[in-house]
């Protein structure tokens, strides 16, 4: 088409095109309403007009644009608002340039861009291909804005595709030229042309390669700049062509990950220091209070003695002196408790743990306390079997823990009260309990009393002066034995402290070094039953989580205000609060903690789901289940990548794939069992299931079985090495996506799996 002779002619051409667009819309068998059309690879794009969707503006909708008008840059993912120019087929011999803002672009399999929708004003800029002057004049031939994020895999593919395309073109040109050559043209000339053609191929490939590489390097440089400026690299780096650049890219990614780890470690270190500082302040104020009180008595009585000794009767003098010595003993106890706390907290000191029959220990502690009990007119009973299964224990420490519990019980017993020390072996544990019939401890304090220097001195609980360290020491000793301790109490009836220690087969050497794992995250565990709380807490603490406990709804809410936990694990049947109120209050929290609810129902009430419970844990919860659920919760709460179930089998290298997925920020859950994979999908917020189909490809029987188990709506990524990329694309439908697996490319595979699982499911295609 030649240049338009006049403005009028140009306007007419535009009108023609507009009409054509409208006609296309009307003739559309779907009434011009559908949003997507599918084009074969290489089909020239058409312009359609859909006033209902576009609201009076033009909309170009393309699919499979790889061979079409979007050409090379179709490998970019565009973000909304990007301004692009598209050269479109209009009528034979002419082309049209459309310019507009991207409304959305769709990523297809393996990160290919399969569709772009963009809107342009009602009267688009029509720049005929034969009208370069117009284009220059308007200065709009700048092609496309640099996309803000790129897709790594596709770049290489496209470079290859285009190289091949140019090669064919060049060879064709060569033959064409050869055909037109005079008959006398010798073989040498032909060969020259062939050489020229292959040089052209090489040159094109080189240019493209350099272009891709330059892009990769620029992205790398920007990432380094960001890193040095202190912000971690959040966008993904495009893949590189040459090995060296690819290595640099890999190292940079690793560096980014490590940087983030260091930053996180530094942050948690700082937080810990602040907490320690706070604790130190509290300790000082409590210790000073607890030191001053006995000192007051000592000073008061000793000065009164010395000033007034002639007026005091011998009995009064003796009473004063007794008081002074009692208060001195109290000071001594405080000091030795402080030293004990310091000792039990220093993890460097190894405790000698030996397989021990605790029966003898228990009896000897009871013998020590018998005279004190009878002096106080308290009945001390001991229930202990002849022998107990061996427990890995440090006898001195266990003796101290029991002594602390017994002396507490005696302290809080009235004359004629009873204190019962009982030991029993059950399953793979030994339970030691100390019960009294004293005033009892309110439910809200069941967790606080085990804390170090709970801010309230113990007098505020029972009206009896103590140092407030005894139970903290007990907890410390028991936890270093891999066990747990809790209190159950009824006001006015008494309290029962129970220590559970692993015995027999359960003896774990690892129990000694519970601080190996340093996981970041605070968990709040709440249940009406103190033993459940203690056992769950112990399992979580062993994993390095920071655990707070609550035994009532009101205490749970207190903890929320004090420590804002990342994850809350709670029962909904609490003594002081209705389930809906509790969940409502949890959901209102900002930031809202991840909510795991313990339940023993066979079917979970829809009402509970409506309150935004994230995960349900059915009782009895196994240790593995608990830890898995908590890790998923922490991952989600920290804004981590997709959670994926890996169904191992067919020689899938689960370890490697898990590692690579974790490297991509995903959380892999590994199972070898289809029904367990299904259970994971129902229990946790899973973003995708990865399964190996093996040589059977699409005929693999595991796929239908798995889809049956996981139910609709969960994305299944089927790995296969039996299908080509194109076949993979063909067989993928809805939530089932086939992904070609190339051996030795696990990293890249993990990358594309991670990308697949964060995408919205594909739009239905007509």
């Amino acid at each position: 088409m030649s240049e338009y002779a006049s403005e009028t002619e140009q306007a007419e051409a535009i009108q023609n095109l507009l009409d054509k667009g409208r006609t296309n819309g009307r003739e559309d068998p779907y009434g011009g309403k559908r949003r997507w059309r599918r084009y074969r690879l290489g089909t020239p794009l058409e312009v359609s007009f859909d006033p209902q969707v576009c609201g009076g503006s033009w909309r170009v909708i393309t699919h499979n644009v790889s061979g079409g008008g979007l050409g090379f840059w179709s490998s970019h993912a565009f973000t909304r608002g990007d301004r692009i120019f598209v050269r479109e087929y209009a009528e034979s011999g002419s082309a049209v340039w459309l310019t507009g803002q991207v409304s959305y672009s769709v990523l297809g399999l393996n990160g290919y861009l399969t569709g772009v929708a963009f809107e342009c004003p009602a009267a688009p800029d029509f720049l005929g291909s034969s009208m370069p002057t117009v284009a220059h004049r308007t200065g709009r031939q700048k092609r496309v804005q640099r996309p803000s994020c790129c897709l790594p895999l596709s770049m290489r593919m496209y470079a290859g595709l285009l190289c091949a395309g140019s090669g064919v073109l060049a060879v064709g040109t060569a033959f064409l030229l050869a055909g037109y050559a005079p008959a006398g043209l010798g073989a040498g000339r032909l060969m020259f042309l062939q050489i020229a053609a292959s040089l052209a191929v090489g040159f094109t490939a080189g240019v493209l390669g350099v272009a891709v590489e330059a892009r990769a390097i620029r992205a790398i440089r920007e990432a380094i700049d960001r890193l040095s400026a202190g912000t971690p690299c959040t966008t993904r780096l495009p893949a590189a062509v040459t090995t060296d650049v690819a290595r640099i890219r890999r190292s940079l990614l690793d560096l980014g990950v490590r940087w983030a780890e260091y930053a996180e470690a530094e942050r948690s270190q700082r937080q810990k220091l602040e907490e320690i500082n706070q604790i130190k302040t509290n300790v000082l104020s409590v210790v000073s209070h607890d030191l001053r009180t006995p000192l007051t008595s000592i000073q008061l009585y000793s000065e009164m003695l010395s000033e007034d000794i002639e007026n005091l009767s011998p009995d009064e003098q003796r009473a004063f002196l007794n008081t002074i010595s009692e208060e001195c003993l109290r000071l001594t106890r405080l000091v030795s408790d402080l030293i004990e706390v310091q000792r039990s907290e220093s993890q460097n000191v190894e405790w000698a743990m030996e397989p021990t029959d605790l029966a003898e220990t228990v009896r000897s502690v009871a013998r020590t306390f018998a005279p004190i009990a009878s002096q106080q007119q308290v009945e001390l009973t001991v229930e202990c079997p002849e022998t107990l299964p061996p427990v890995a224990a440090n006898v001195d420490k266990i003796t101290q823990a029991l002594s602390n519990l017994l002396s507490n019980a005696l302290k809080h017993s009235e004359p004629d009260g009873t204190v019962r020390l009982a030991v029993e072996a059950g399953g793979d544990e030994v339970r030691l309990s100390v019960a009294d019939n004293g005033p009892g401890i309110p439910r809200d304090k069941w967790d606080v009393i085990f804390d170090r220097f709970s801010q309230l001195p113990s007098a505020n609980l029972h009206g009896v002066r103590g140092v407030g360290l005894g139970l903290y020491i007990v907890r410390n000793i028991v936890e270093r034995h891999g066990g747990c301790v809790w209190v159950d109490s009824a006001l006015g009836k008494g309290s029962e402290f129970t220590i559970v220690l692993p015995a027999g087969e359960q003896i774990r050497a690892a129990a000694l070094s519970t601080d190996n794992l340093e996981r970041a995250g605070r968990v709040l565990v709440c249940d009406a039953d103190p033993s459940t709380v203690a056992r769950l807490s112990q399992a979580l603490r062993e994993q390095g989580f920071e655990v707070r406990q609550a035994h009532s709804g009101s205490r749970l809410l207190d903890h929320l205000n004090e420590s804002s936990p990342d994850v809350v694990i709670t029962d909904v049947a609490l003594p002081d609060m209705q389930a809906d109120e509790l969940l409502q209050r949890l959901a209102e929290r900002k930031p809202c903690p991840f909510r795991l609810v313990l339940h023993s129902m066979t079917d979970v009430d829809d009402e509970l789901r409506a309150f935004g419970v994230d995960v349900f844990l059915e009782r009895p919860v196994t240790r593995d289940e608990l830890i898995r659920a908590t890790c998923v919760a922490m991952h989600k709460q920290a804004g981590g990548g997709p959670v994926m179930v890996l169904l191992s089998g067919y020689g899938m290298d689960v370890d490697l794939l898990s590692r690579c997925l974790a490297g991509e920020g995903c959380m892999p859950l590994v199972t070898s069992n289809v029904s367990e994979a299904g259970a994971f999908c129902h229990a946790y917020p899973v973003d995708g299931v990865v399964v190996q189909t093996g040589p059977e490809g699409v005929y693999s029987k595991v796929i239908p079985a798995l889809r049956e188990e996981v139910g609709p709506g969960t994305r299944v990524c089927a790995l296969t090495d039996a299908l080509s990329d194109w076949e993979c694309q063909k067989h993928s439908k809805g939530d089932l996506v086939y992904v070609r697996q190339v051996s030795g490319r696990t990293e890249a595979l993990a990358e594309s799996l991670a990308a697949l699982c964060v995408q919205a499911p594909m739009e239905p295609v007509t």
């Binding site: 104020s285 007051t296 000073q299 000033e307 008081t323 609980l461 002066r465």
Partner: protein, 130 residues
């Protein structure tokens, strides 16, 4: 007769104070927490309150605040015994409630002098430090 109400949850301190402050023309009453102190105060209208801060059931500051709300106790002299050692709290208590703060451990002689001063108007010795 002057009535002194001593409120502390430490039996040794209470008994020591009872011995220290006893004298002709004085009645000494004992409460072990703020709640008891409130009901005793309403019943017996003491002339002086000696109170600890950290106590079970109802703490010292809360007790003082509730007493001062009532007209009858607006002018009653109060001595606060505290083991907390928090200067700001002490200053606030002195300004807000017009109470005298005595830090534990205290010396018995000066405390006795202070009580005599508050109850019977005996002038304080020049070098009285508690």
């Amino acid at each position: 007769m002057k009535k002194i109400l001593i409120c502390d949850d430490e039996p040794h301190i209470v008994e020591g104070l009872r011995y220290l402050l006893k004298g002709s023309g004085r009645i000494i009453e004992i409460a072990t927490n703020g709640q008891e102190a409130l009901s005793l105060a309403r019943k017996d209208r003491p002339d002086l309150l000696i109170i600890d801060l950290m106590m079970p059931v109802l703490g010292g500051l809360e007790t003082i605040a509730m007493l001062r709300e009532q007209q009858a106790f607006k002018k009653m002299p109060i001595i606060i015994l505290t083991a907390k050692g928090c200067e700001q709290d002490n200053a606030a208590a002195e300004q807000l409630w017009g109470a005298t703060v005595v830090a534990k451990p205290f010396r018995p002689g000066p405390l006795r002098a202070l009580v005599s001063h508050l109850l019977e108007g005996v002038p304080l010795p020049a070098t009285s430090s508690i």
